[in-house]
């Protein structure tokens, strides 16, 4: 059958006809093959226009229709419907050509416009004959709606949808609904209290059974299409269960303070908080961030932030309780820990790191070990043997005991403590402290057997015979490493391990007159300082690199120097010089630094011929220790490492012998106390799992670790810009002269005032410090610090975006001094001042010049600056629409609350009082005596007394004005949300030139978006006041309800299709499809499009090498015909 085409060109009043000679185009079309009728008409989209087409279809048996008029995005649907009414399949029959937006409106010359219209009409006429009949698919509509944003727009939409009997999911990212409206005080022009009109809405969304409120939640992902969306919501962990009563007891004990976002930082809140008293839901939330760096830096994972906060608030017992969660020897660590935590402390970016170790010692010195609570657990009938009573043995014993296991600890020496007792000198770690802490551990029911050496007095086999279920080896590294030089065994050469042990245990005072110590580690420093105390007249430390490379702690090196110890660096020992078998000196050789070794330290290189002798009576090598494994492996064949330490699994710490675990120096070689304790904690977990037969948990954890190998983004609390510089607290030290002859403790610790002020420096990087005082105080038992984020997937049919706006930050406009001048406020800050739940409980007060969180007296004069960032080509060209009106409201409130003699100046560009009752309000405020000055303020200057001088031009009188005021308020612009781009992508909507979300049509589709089923409400679409926002929200709700009520939606049929006769099964399209809509049919070896999932983007069709994949309505034939029409006569 030959085609019978009807052509219609629209005048669009004169919109098209004033440039395009429409009759000429129609005449041209009539000559085109197949065209049986060509008409022009004034308004094709009107009823008579459509009827014209329908009549022609019926009377002239038209098979195809081409309309040349406006953009198809405007009226394609209209004419398709007309064709359908007249009995034609609209996809088969109809094509639309745009001669208005792409023709008459953009072409200045009439001839050119007419010619362009002719060409594109020709293309349309060519194309239409190749079109095929298509039938849109119908899908059912899920009657639930999703509303993103819980401000007044979102709440209103949710209430409307719920009251129609449908379910609404209301997702709000803040802990409470309410949005900006509830932060305000009064609403213009009626001055009704926003809380009075807003809180009922909040309560309604909180209580309505049809509203599923998801506060403190965010939409993560959206898939599907109109009527059938799948939305992933991430419910962020609040750490508070739903049985929270909102009593606020928790906030009273919380030690951590942060500025409250709800009050735009004019007031403090706790880490556990409610945004404001009327918040919905009335459920507290804990502000937790990335775990603080100090805590992650601690090998033992001590909650450093927690106990620092407890010291700050003077709760030393809780500080000690927190320390004891991970460190069984708080007083010891408070003295000897090399504090890796302080290296990572972010306070150092402001001034200096918090003195964390000293604070730990302070807590240990000022609280009672006996009062540290033990968990209430049942005794477990399993026996564990702990061999060695050094720090790692004590850790394993104490924490396994806390779990209820029976512990026997074996120690080869007379007293427990291992290296803590034999290796660390008393002036650093008084034995009384060590005894006290070990006794505390023993008092919890740990059995100690001293004088029992493994391999001498018992064996692993004998322990098994005694019924021990697990064995822990913590035998340390007590064997000195040799120097391997000549005459090393001469009399007068004593290793540091033996020397220190003798001095510590027996007070032997065995040092000779002139002592040389070899080495640069902490052991060398300890030895040197002990030698001084034990009677040596001169002590020298010989080290092969420079002082910079010394592994010893800086404070130990300094302490040694103060005590008169000589440092001979870049020098290595070569030979012990003897006389009659006794030491008389040591021959040394000078070194220089060569290239760096694998560890990054520069290697010492001896300088040939530089040998010389240092005369001395005693040489003490302190160059390292190794593990004494011989007596152990005699009976049991343990696997050892190349270093002679026990080989263990790095996660389970289990040795090659099942049921025997090891940690501490025996595994790592000589290391720090805190590293030993860290290993001990691993053992505690492992032994518990071993005894419960849960060792497979380690495998699961390893697997999880591999899967989550991407490091999480650090979300620390930001460093405050205005943090005061505070000097680091310094402990008191005994004077060098008086301390040199005694073993009494040198470091006397911090004073209480110094400790508290240093603790107050802590920035609380991790948010909540996890002191858990709130857990103890909560009567409802609603707090659980282990809650995790929860993701849920909900099905909805329609979506409303109501994400609101951000207020502009005026800090970059330095001419107004915001942030520098105390009494320059933003509008939102002023709203919080005026609000009864704000920092001043509703009083309008000036800010203290020295403290931004303190407010003093009412202002006597105030300048209100309009258009800050709005109508300004440097910021936003648009008008923010609300500022004129709220500025008038502020003027009224100032007169009302601060007295009628308060001078109020409004600096405006134009007054825009366009709404109902707005102009009347303007008149009323003017009559109250408010000065209106037409002109934009150029600058604000602050005098020493805090008075502000406002400089502006009065454009009505043409004069410059300079006015002194107490306070200035900046009426800042409404800006698109900073995450508008993310939201746009998530929901497939568009953003306009101003950055706000773009509605589908500025007049006729103000709440729709290009994504069918996704609607807009409120200020996310453009600056809006409350009445407009509510009206738009109701409009968006109506759109959702229309979908839900109809229950069926038609989806355009322009989707892909793969011709099974042509497809070669290469499967390239499968990888290209962004919706995974293409599947492979193995049997037929071809790809198949799943039409329910395909959206018709044409990624497959654009690529398909065989031309099998096509998008319906955009086939090669159709597009080729259109190209032909454009280019060939």
């Amino acid at each position: 059958m030959s085609e019978r085409i009807g052509f219609y060109i629209c005048h669009c009043g004169i919109n098209i006809a004033y440039r395009v000679r429409v009759a000429e185009v129609a005449a041209y079309a009539s000559t085109f093959p197949g065209v049986v009728v060509a008409r022009d008409y004034l308004f094709m989209c009107s009823d008579p226009g459509q009827e014209l087409i329908e009549k022609d279809i019926r009377n002239l048996d038209l098979t195809r229709v081409v309309v040349a008029s406006c953009s198809p995005r405007m009226h394609e649907k209209t004419f398709r419907a007309a064709c359908q009414r007249a009995g034609l399949n609209p996809y088969h029959a109809f094509h639309m050509v745009c001669v208005r937006e792409h023709g008459s409106w953009v072409t200045e010359n009439e001839d050119e416009a007419t010619e362009k219209a002719r060409v594109i009409v020709r293309a349309g006429l060519k194309r239409v004959s190749f079109q095929n009949a298509l039938i849109p698919s119908q899908f059912s509509v899920n009657s639930n709606s999703l509303i993103v944003g819980g401000g007044i727009a979102g709440m209103q939409a949710a209430i409307d949808i719920a009251s129609a009997g449908f379910k609404a999911y209301l997702v709000e990212k803040a802990p409470t609904v309410g949005g900006h409206m509830l932060q305000y005080d009064k609403a213009f022009p009626t001055l009704d209290c926003t809380a009075c009109i807003g809180t009922p809405k909040m309560v309604a969304v909180g209580q309505d059974k049809n509203v599923e409120l998801r506060s403190y939640a965010e939409v993560e992902h959206v898939s599907g299409f109109v009527g059938n969306f799948k939305v992933t919501i991430n419910n962020k962990a609040r750490y508070i269960k739903s049985n929270c009563t909102g009593c606020g007891d928790c906030a009273k004990v919380c030690p951590v303070d942060f500025p409250n976002e709800w009050d735009v930082n004019t007031k403090m809140r706790k880490a556990i908080y409610l945004s404001f008293p009327q918040a919905v839901p009335v459920r507290y939330v804990i502000d937790k961030r990335t775990t603080a760096p100090c805590r992650t830096a601690c090998p033992a994972g001590t909650n450093v932030q927690g106990y620092v906060q407890m010291v700050k608030t003077g709760n030393y017992q809780q500080a000690l309780n927190i320390i004891m969660e991970r460190l069984p020897l708080p007083g010891v660590l408070g003295r000897v820990c090399p504090h890796p935590c302080e290296i990572d402390c972010r306070r150092a970016e402001v001034d200096s790191a918090v003195s964390i170790r000293d604070l730990k010692r302070f807590a240990a010195d000022h609280a009672r070990l006996e009062d540290v609570p033990m968990p209430m657990v049942e005794e477990i009938d399993k026996k564990i043997a702990v061999i060695g009573s050094g720090p790692v043995g004590l850790t394993v014993a104490y924490y396994l005991r806390r779990k209820g296991f029976k512990i026997s600890m074996f120690e080869s020496m007379e007293k427990p403590g291992g290296m803590l007792r034999t290796g660390i000198p008393d002036y650093r770690l008084p034995p009384s402290i060590l005894d006290q802490e070990i006794n505390h551990i023993l008092s919890k029911g740990v059995e100690l057997k001293t004088g029992m050496a493994l391999g001498r007095d018992f064996t692993l086999a004998s322990l098994k015979d005694q019924g021990f279920d697990a064995i822990f080896l913590g035998i340390g590294a007590h064997v000195p490493v040799k120097m391997n030089i000549e005459n090393e065994d001469a009399e007068g050469v004593v290793d540091a391990v033996w020397f220190l042990r003798k001095e510590n245990l027996e007070r032997a005072r065995s040092a000779k007159k002139r002592v040389v110590i070899i080495g640069g580690g902490n052991a060398a420093m300890d030895t040197a300082r002990v030698a001084v105390r034990s009677g040596a007249e001169s002590v020298s430390v010989v080290y092969r690199r420079t002082e910079k490379e010394m592994p010893a702690d800086h404070e130990e090196i300094e302490g040694a120097k103060e005590e008169g110890i000589e440092f001979i660096t870049l020098t290595g020992p070569k030979k012990v010089v003897t006389e009659n078998g006794r030491v008389i000196g040591i021959e040394c050789i000078k070194n220089e630094l060569g290239p760096a070794d694998a560890g990054g330290r520069r290697r010492p290189v001896p300088i040939a011929g530089s040998e010389y002798v240092i005369a001395c009576d005693m040489i003490i090598p302190a160059i390292g220790q190794s593990v004494e494994t011989a007596p152990v492996i005699k009976d049991t064949p343990f696997e050892l490492t190349a270093w002679g330490t026990f080989k263990v699994d790095p996660d389970t710490m289990q040795t090659s012998v099942p049921g025997v675990f090891a940690a501490g120096d025996a595994v790592t070689g000589p290391a720090t106390v805190v590293e030993a304790i860290a290993g001990g904690h691993k053992v505690v977990t492992a032994i518990e799992r071993y005894l419960n037969q849960e060792m497979d948990l380690f495998d699961a954890e390893r697997k999880q670790k591999e899967e989550n190998s991407v490091p999480e983004e650090k979300n620390y609390v930001p460093i405050p810009e205005k943090a005061a510089i505070v000097a680091r607290a310094k402990a008191t030290f005994v004077e060098p002269l008086s301390r040199k002859s005694t073993f009494e403790e040198v470091d006397l610790g911090l004073s209480e005032a110094a400790a508290q002020s240093d603790a107050a420096k802590c920035l609380n990087c991790g948010g909540c410090c996890e002191c858990k005082l709130c857990v103890d105080t909560c009567k409802a038992k609603a707090i659980d610090h282990d809650i995790k984020d929860q993701r849920e997937i909900v099905d909805v049919g329609s979506i409303i975006i109501a994400t609101g706006f951000d207020p502009l930050d005026p800090t970059p406009m330095t001419q107004y001094g915001y942030g520098r001048y105390a009494n320059v406020f933003t509008n939102l800050e002023f709203e919080r001042l005026s609000n009864a739940t704000g920092p001043t409980l509703g009083k309008l007060l000036k800010r203290d010049l020295n403290d931004r969180m303190k407010f003093t007296e009412p202002p006597k004069s105030v300048a209100i600056l309009h258009c800050i960032g709005s109508r300004d080509i440097n910021y936003h060209e648009y008008c923010s629409r609300t500022c004129c009106m709220y500025a008038l409201k502020y003027a009224h409130l100032l007169k009302d609350k601060c007295g009628h003699n308060t001078q109020v100046y409004n600096f405006y560009i134009d007054m825009r009082c366009f709404g109902k009752g707005y102009e009347e309000f303007y008149k009323k405020v003017q009559s109250e005596g408010v000065r209106m000055i037409r002109g934009k303020v150029g600058s604000i200057k602050e005098a020493k007394n805090g008075m502000l001088t406002v400089l502006a031009e009065d454009t009505l009188s043409g004069r410059m004005v300079e006015i002194e005021v107490d306070m200035a308020i900046l009426c800042t612009a409404m800006e698109p949300r900073t995450n508008a781009q993310d939201v746009m992508r998530k929901f497939g909507i568009g953003i306009g030139a101003d950055g706000f979300f773009q509605e589908e049509h500025p007049k006729l589709a103000p709440v729709s978006t290009p994504s069918s089923g996704v609607f807009l409400a409120g200020a996310c679409q453009g600056p809006k006041d409350i009445p407009d926002t509510v009206a738009q929200a109701k409009g968006a709700a109506a759109e959702c309800l229309a979908l839900s009520a109809k229950g069926i939606v038609e989806v355009p049929p322009m989707i892909s299709w793969i011709d099974p006769d042509v497809c070669v099964g290469c499967q390239v399209c499968i990888g290209l499809c962004p919706y995974s809509a293409i599947e492979f049919d193995d049997f037929n070896s071809i790809s198949i499009v799943n039409s329910a999932v395909c959206k018709g983007c044409g990624s497959c069709a654009g690529h398909c090498p065989s031309g099998a994949a096509k998008v319906r309505h955009f086939t090669d034939q159709q597009v080729f015909a259109e190209i032909d029409g454009l280019l060939l006569n």
């Binding site: 953009s71 198809p72 995005r73 405007m74 745009c98 208005r100 937006e101 792409h102 023709g103 409106w105 953009v106 072409t107 200045e108 010359n109 050119e112 416009a113 010619e115 362009k116 060409v119 594109i120 293309a123 781009q981 746009m984 992508r985 497939g988 568009g990 953003i991 306009g992 030139a993 773009q998 290009p1010 994504s1011 322009m1054 290209l1072 962004p1074 919706y1075 959206k1095 018709g1096 983007c1097 044409g1098 990624s1099 069709a1101 654009g1102 690529h1103 998008v1111 955009f1114 090669d1116 597009v1119 080729f1120 259109e1122 190209i1123 032909d1124 454009l1126 280019l1127 060939l1128």
Partner: protein, 161 residues
């Protein structure tokens, strides 16, 4: 004799550049009539053969308009378009089609002004370049303009034709 008027075919994504063209119209931003627009649902739908077809039929320039990277209505169709254009540009060069004749531009729905600028710029550029070599080869279709002939390999032209 009248000035050479290049023929430009625009393949515009329905969600961005086509809408930008509508916006340019609504805002009455006039631009040269030389461009004629074909509506596509996505720039990623533009099959290389459409571009080749346009040049073979005598287009002096082809403009593909897509959404900014990350803003594609279909997730990433524009990125696929970008890859195809990169490859097609190289192929077209082999046939004597200068890359200055084949443009891919990201023009968002709100960027009506940008659309006008791009069309202005492209039209001016093509006027400088003169008619497409394929266009000039067609007998009886000689258009005056740039007299320096661009390099053409007639064998290859025949191969596609």
């Amino acid at each position: 004799m009248s000035e050479f008027e290049p023929k430009i075919v625009g393949f515009f994504c329905n969600w961005c550049t086509f809408t930008a063209a509508d916006l340019a119209g609504t805002s009455r931003l006039s631009y040269p009539h030389n461009i004629k627009i074909i509506r596509m649902m996505c720039s990623g739908m533009v099959d290389p053969k459409y571009v080749i077809k346009a040049f073979l039929n005598g287009a002096d320039g082809v403009l593909i308009g897509g959404c900014w990277p990350g803003d594609c209505h279909y997730i990433n169709g524009n990125l696929k378009a970008r890859r195809r254009v990169a490859m097609l540009t190289e192929i077209l060069k082999e046939y004597g089609i200068d890359e200055k004749r084949f443009w891919l531009r990201w023009i968002a729905a709100s960027e009506g002004t940008m659309l006008r600028e791009v069309v202005n710029e492209m039209t001016a550029k093509l006027k400088e370049l003169g008619p497409s070599p394929l266009n000039r080869e067609t007998p009886g279709k000689k258009t005056p303009g740039n007299e320096t002939p661009e390099k053409v390999n007639p064998e290859k032209v025949k191969m596609i034709g």
